[in-house]
Symmetry: C2
Subunit: 197 residues, 2 copies
DNA sequence: CATAGGTGTGACCGGTCGGTAACTATTCGA
DNA sequence: TCGAATAGTTACCGACCGGTCACACCTATG
């Protein structure tokens, strides 16, 4: 007999899912409340507005992502290059499994109104991701860690949106190979300058 | 005395702009008609539904993109590698100038309902772009034209959405360098196998 | 000048949106 | 056991959505 989650938690996770499936603008608060087996009034007792709820779901998602990073580091302690390869593999797996891409990035596309509170959440999340990726590249000792981490970031974002636009037969098909080629390219360059062949 | 455009053309170009600024779901047909200095009834005489209008604006945008490609090929005739570098430069310029990214890709993110007529337009457009880019890579004689063109596609899409999410200080800052590094990497590999140093 | 076709106007439709009020039912700790 | 907090229910609000109606207007062509 699993105890039912608290209404607030049900709302957040349900909203998360429905925002993914229908888009933030594509689903109403009433439908969210009903899907969460509660009602609109309770929703509004916990969240002041739909925008509040949006921010909360984005925070929720970004916390799960942070947990993924911790797990990644724990899996290959003191081996940043292995972590990097594992990151690529995990992202490729997400790409294959997942149908809707990155919630935070999609929200950034969907919410054009500048000054929307979600933008701060999105930017914080993305910056954190990029910081961790860059640290990984730096620790792995590649020749240009900033360039490589930005390259990998762009490849990842691009693969997700590209899959939405072109389908799984498009460029995202070669996401993993593209990442590995980029990593190899900057590893080789590092070797050729330090080992002088 | 410039002759005013026909209502239909005014509607398409105005809708294009407003969809960019507010998102497809973020602007109503009434506001579009008004901004186009006409009215909703005239809009509905030319387009059977909002979805029709959406498709038409996407087609409009993709025709402009096709013209860009023709111009690119005319600028450096019989020099695919120069065309490739020019493509990178042009995309970097777009990235710097433009605030909203690729309309087609954004529409793909925003319109989740599968079976929406816009998806066919988007997929056609993206596939055409990718075909031309791949041909360019192949003609330029790089070692893995498919992998390079997909890499460049992902970098481009990623740069645009990344700019929306993280701002212009994020990974998109190094878009051009990332592209050039990728091109160089596959050109080097080609040289080392064909020229054997 | 007449007529026809594209255009403009304003009211209107049913539906849904985000958000609120008032009231009842449930839960749970002091 | 009592009381306070939390949750559920129903109805409602004004605004806006995509889409349609009837009708007046303008202009160009015969």
């Amino acid at each position: 007999m699993k105890a039912r989650q608290a209404p607030r938690d049900r709302i957040v996770s349900t909203a998360c899912e429905l925002f993914r499936q229908h888009g933030i603008r594509g689903i109403g608060v009433d439908a969210i409340a009903e899907a969460a087996e509660t009602n609109k009034m309770t929703l509004y007792r916990h969240f002041g507005s739909k925008d509040d709820l949006i921010c909360e779901t984005l925070r929720f998602t970004s916390e799960k992502a942070a947990a993924f990073w911790d797990q990644l580091e724990a899996s290959f302690p003191n081996d940043p290059m292995a972590q990097l390869h594992s990151w690529v593999k995990a992202r490729a797996q997400c790409l294959a499994d997942d149908k809707y891409g990155c919630d935070l990035a999609n929200a950034a596309v969907e919410l054009k109104e500048q000054g929307h509170p979600a933008h701060a959440v999105i930017e914080n999340f993305k910056r954190a991701q990029q910081r961790r990726l860059e640290k990984l590249c730096r620790d792995a000792g590649v020749s240009e860690p900033e360039l490589l981490s930005d390259t990998l970031s762009m490849l990842m974002e691009g693969a997700q949106v590209s899959k939405l636009a072109t389908g799984s037969e498009g460029p995202s098909m070669r996401f993993m190979r593209a990442c590995e080629a980029a990593i190899a390219s900057f590893s080789l360059a590092a070797r050729s300058t330090t080992e002088t062949i």
